[in-house]
């Protein structure tokens, strides 16, 4: 009888777990692994030639022009990651903090802050392209109207501003996500702990840095990890706003674009190379997975049971 119960339970768990597992295995893991295998072959256009071992990896890492392209894209990804860390997660934290205080209108603000998240990237990209329009864009028009005409810029046309402009659009689009995750974290801080701090200090700064921040560590783990993964997989927004080449002159190039362009080619380059593209994808995946694992375990260790 206990045997029967155990097998019954085992069967039940199997029934539950196998179909979803199959989906992921069949439609994600298996294709990805086959695609990773491309990295070990030489390709001419769409034609697979010989097995070349790690040569493709060597090429993208050490041979010009790939080397500088890789470095440039990687550098931009790092900028994106840190910038979004501040703009998206940092702002998200502040917004969450403000929302958490249940000031008048908080409900409305909450809905508003998450609204852009439900928009598609295309919409966001088109909108912001219009905003950054050098002649008619809202940004420049606003600057001119408040007498800061000399600050008006061809935002998406200069290497100095293009990436940042796209980052700003991304932050606008996604700031709602960390906001709500942080908010969820904050709402799990027992009210009495906050009252306890208020008994001891008036300083909002102390309260945030010494109490709230350490206590939302679990939210921070989620948000940091997802941001990291997202920043290094960043594709759609720079693709639509800067183009597949990372215009102007590579200043908005990121690994996602670079890998896609290398694997599938683009109108201006014409060349497709699955070998190099896959090698890049493998490297990116290994990098993301490794760092994400480190981040997660590091941050998890910091988490406190409430």
């Amino acid at each position: 009888m206990p045997q029967f119960r155990m097998t019954g339970r085992g069967l039940w768990i199997t029934v539950l777990i196998v179909p979803p597992l199959c989906f992921v295995a069949l439609f994600i893991v298996y294709p990805i692994i086959s695609a990773f295998a491309y990295a070990f072959f030489d390709w001419q256009g769409l034609r697979r030639l010989d097995f070349v071992g790690l040569e493709n990896f060597h090429t993208v890492l050490f041979v010009e022009p790939y080397r500088s392209w890789t470095l440039n894209a990687f550098k931009n990804n790092i900028i994106v990651f840190f910038a979004l860390m501040v703009l998206q997660n940092g702002l998200g934290f502040i917004l969450a903090y403000a929302l958490w205080r249940e000031l008048p209108g908080a409900r409305f603000h909450r809905i508003a802050v998450f609204l852009p998240v439900v928009l598609s990237t295309i919409i966001v990209a088109y909108l912001f392209k219009l905003f950054y329009h050098p002649l008619f864009g809202v940004v420049n028009i606003s600057l001119k109207s408040i007498g800061l005409g000399e600050w008006a810029q061809p935002w998406l046309g200069q290497s100095g501003t293009a990436l940042w402009s796209i980052i700003a659009a991304q932050a606008w689009h996604m700031v709602g996500f960390p906001t709500l995750v942080f908010l969820a974290g904050m709402q799990r801080i027992p009210g009495e702990i906050l009252d306890a701090v208020r008994m001891e200090t008036e300083s909002e700064w102390v309260k945030i840095t010494k109490i709230v921040w350490p206590l939302v560590a679990p939210s921070a783990t989620i948000v940091f990890t997802l941001l990291f993964v997202g920043a290094f997989n960043w594709f759609e927004l720079p693709y639509i706003m800067g183009g597949l080449d990372g215009s102007p002159f590579g200043s908005t190039d990121v690994l996602g674009l670079y890998f896609y362009r290398t694997a599938f080619g683009n109108v201006s380059a014409g060349q497709q190379d699955f070998g190099l593209g896959s090698a890049l994808a493998v490297l990116i995946f290994i990098f993301i997975a490794a760092i994400a694992a480190v981040i997660t375990t590091r941050l998890r260790a910091r988490e406190i049971q409430l």
């Binding site: 001419q44 256009g45 769409l46 034609r47 010009e64 022009p65 790939y66 392209k129 950054y132 329009h133 050098p134 002649l135 008619f136 420049n140 008006a152 810029q153 061809p154 935002w155 998406l156 046309g157 200069q158 290497s159 183009g243 597949l244 080449d245 215009s247 102007p248 002159f249 590579g250 599938f264 080619g265 683009n266 109108v267 201006s268 380059a269 014409g270 060349q271 497709q272 190379d273």
Partner: protein, 390 residues
């Protein structure tokens, strides 16, 4: 027999369906399904489908390097003058654009040529008493006059990377000159050549002065918009823009001219290239029907209809152009050099297009010099372009 026919020309759907009707009427038993895809992702989709073995029977392929990607992998059926007799009549550069360099085998029927030149708003020119300029200085003067009149002289923006190439060769071909092109091809000159760099200097001067404020942040659709709405007088672009402008603003009166050289005597050259071609899937089970269809696509009947309905320059010989503007473009084509980077430098990484686009963007934002560009192009291309490797 059912044929599927893939294209990235979403805007031409109606016209193609009409052509297909004609074809089907003439060839009972063959039906053709026309399917279009978003242009920027077309390569990905086509590669994927071909690699997956489910590609279309007949497809549009890009010319030059784009064609090689697909052809070399063996996905395309070789076309010969036997299977498609009309190919024998085509101009050599058109055929070259649809062939693999290594063995000169033809894989597609070229469908259109495109010309890089200057399009202008005839009404504005007339209102301000401006004639088509014959020299570079006249072009500058005319621009100044427009600017003084509060009209943006050129609508172009360079935020969209490939526009830089268009602007460079649309404006600069005459300045560079045919000789430079020939020497470059012969391997006796490279991009550090003064003819090339000084042309870049002039183009940059013009752009800084007469392109819209912040043009480096202006993307392609916005630039088109500026021109078609009548806010700007000129647009450096391709002959494919003519139809677009007309569609956007049916009232607009357009004119075209080739950007002039230093002096009126310098040959006025346009940049010419072949857009792409119609190719047959090597693995199609309906090869016969596909070849029949491609033969139709190579016929003069089709070429004429193509030119008339789509307002494009068909590559098929002896097609005449009802549209005076097209006729004029066709006229200008007689004096041209190939659209340089596309025709010759898109066979390796980094491609000439990628380099020139990036370098011009740098130049326009003041971060490099024409001489440095020449250097960068030459050394960059040397990575795979043998003539530069010394």
């Amino acid at each position: 027999q059912d044929l599927t026919f893939w294209s990235w020309r979403q805007e031409d759907r109606a016209a193609y369906e009409q052509f297909i009707d004609t074809f089907e009427a003439a060839n009972p038993g063959i039906t053709v399904t026309f399917e279009t895809f978003e242009a920027t992702n077309y390569n990905t989709i086509l590669s994927t489908a071909l690699a997956g073995g489910t590609g279309p029977d007949v497809m549009m392929v890009r010319a030059y390097g784009g064609l090689e990607n697909v052809a070399v992998a063996g996905y395309l059926e070789e076309l010969t003058t036997e299977s498609v007799p009309a190919l024998a009549e085509f101009a050599a550069p058109a055929i070259a654009a649809e062939s693999v360099r290594a063995d000169s085998k033809i894989y597609a029927v070229p469908f259109a040529s495109q010309t890089q030149l200057v399009i202008y708003n005839a009404t504005i020119f007339a209102d301000n008493g401006i004639e088509e300029p014959q020299t570079w200085d006249e072009l500058m003067a005319a621009s100044q006059k427009l600017k003084d009149a509060g009209i943006i002289p050129f609508a172009n923006g360079t935020a969209t990377a490939w526009q830089n190439e268009t602007v460079t060769f649309g404006l600069g071909s005459s300045l560079m000159g045919k000789e430079f092109y020939d020497e470059l091809m012969a391997g006796t000159a490279d991009f550090t050549d003064a003819r090339f760099t000084s042309a870049l200097t002039s183009v940059n001067e013009l752009a800084q002065e007469y392109f819209p404020d912040g043009f480096i942040g202006l993307d392609y659709p916005s630039a088109q918009q500026l021109f078609s709405s009548g806010m700007a007088a000129m647009f450096v672009g391709g002959s494919y823009e003519l139809a677009t402008f007309k569609a956007q603003n049916p009232d607009i009166e357009l004119g075209v001219f080739a950007a002039p050289g230093e002096t009126a005597e310098d040959a006025k050259l346009v940049g010419l290239y072949f857009d792409g071609g119609y190719a047959v899937n090597a693995a199609t089970p309906n090869k016969e029907a596909a070849i029949t269809f491609v033969n139709y696509l190579a016929s003069q009947e089709f070429g004429q209809a193509f030119a008339n309905t789509l307002n494009n320059i068909s590559t098929i010989p002896n097609v005449t152009f009802d549209n005076p503007l097209l006729a004029e473009v066709n006229e200008l084509n007689q004096s041209s050099i190939p659209y340089l980077m596309l025709a010759h430098f898109r066979y390796g990484e980094p491609s000439g297009s990628v380099l020139i686009q990036a370098e011009m963007q740098k130049l326009f934002s003041g971060e490099t010099t024409p001489e440095a560009i020449g250097e960068a192009l030459t050394t960059g291309l040397a990575a795979w372009y043998e003539p530069f490797q010394n």
